[in-house]
Symmetry: C2
Subunit: 198 residues, 2 copies
């Protein structure tokens, strides 16, 4: 007894999704076939439609259905600040703060030598080009404060500074409303190091 | 700034997968679009191909590309025993033991009133019909030992016995090589209850 080949292929295909191993791929396949054929058909179509319609914004590299995304096309935003993030979700998080009026650049990843992700696998060259347009005055690095995000920020800072650009990094510290008792020691240490004069 | 609609649709569509919430759906969408377009195209195709080629075996209800699956078509297997399992994966687990030579019936689910899954949502009627073919002598219930699997076994046992069929349940007990010290109390209690005369 073997699993029918089209079922095997579906289970195999589902394993390309991040965080999905053989067990969940198999559970997902049975769910799609047995419980939600409409959802399955819709998923297949949504994948194909997204691949057909989405491309990278010519300026900021985020996903867009147009050549230039809404933000880059917005004349009201300042051309002098360029905020670098890892992924489009990070851009959305910053937009939600309503605290930033400049433009963005989305790397679509982070440097991670251990996973074999180097400068060629993120939009590194395009960022250098974009930041050197003569209008950008400050590059704000807003990559994550993970090991990879920090390494990426460090590398970008060196490269961009070498090109004469002003580079800054978003701050680490206690969250708004945060209590010293409930924050992890390294964040607290960093909040001390990054203290501001009053 | 909004997420492009085709990207939103893809994230939405991925949420039909079991265990996938908004956050992982978004991570999956970016992964497919950014890191694995070949995998994405293949996934869309595999879903459509599986839905087009797979159907339920006319006898045992498992997924098959033919009208009757390999096992049901195998003349060497005994027609007298019918082993009832929840899902095709369970059937494969039992096949791996090489300890069973009868046929199967796959419910494609379990009764779970709390989730709104009743007898109409699993292949209950088909099982009754299948088990009443005049050849089946014993129905072996091999649903899981979860609350839902147990309830399903209980309900099936009553219904099948009422039709004059011999019904059995696979045993609970210590695993082969299992030590009393490392087994949970309810399994141990059950191993005592289900002790065999020697
Ligand atoms: Zn843009
Ligand atoms: Zn069959």
């Amino acid at each position: 007894m073997t699993v029918p080949s089209s079922l095997q292929q579906l289970i195999q295909a589902l394993k390309v999704l991040p965080g999905v191993g053989p067990k969940s791929a198999s559970r997902m396949a049975y769910h799609l076939l047995q419980r939600d054929q409409a959802g399955a058909a819709n998923l297949a179509h949504a994948i194909e439609y997204a691949m057909a319609t989405l491309s990278h914004c010519r300026h900021c590299n985020t996903f867009t259905e147009a050549e230039v995304c809404d933000i880059c096309a917005d004349d009201e935003r300042s051309r002098r600040q360029l905020c670098v993030v890892e992924m489009p979700t990070d851009l959305l998080m910053i937009e939600q703060t309503l605290a930033y009026q400049g433009l963005y650049f989305v790397l679509m990843g982070r440097l991670s030598p251990l996973d074999g992700i180097g400068t060629k696998d993120i939009a590194f060259e395009r960022l250098l080009e974009r930041a050197s347009d003569g209008e950008v005055e400050e590059v704000i690095l807003a990559t994550n404060f993970t090991v990879e995000g920090e390494a990426t920020a460090h590398y970008l800072a060196e490269t961009l500074r070498a090109r004469g650009l002003k580079v800054s990094r978003i701050a680490r510290g206690l969250p708004v409303g945060g209590e010293l008792e409930h924050v992890d020691p390294s964040t607290l240490a960093q909040a001390l190091v990054e203290r501001r004069g009053l």
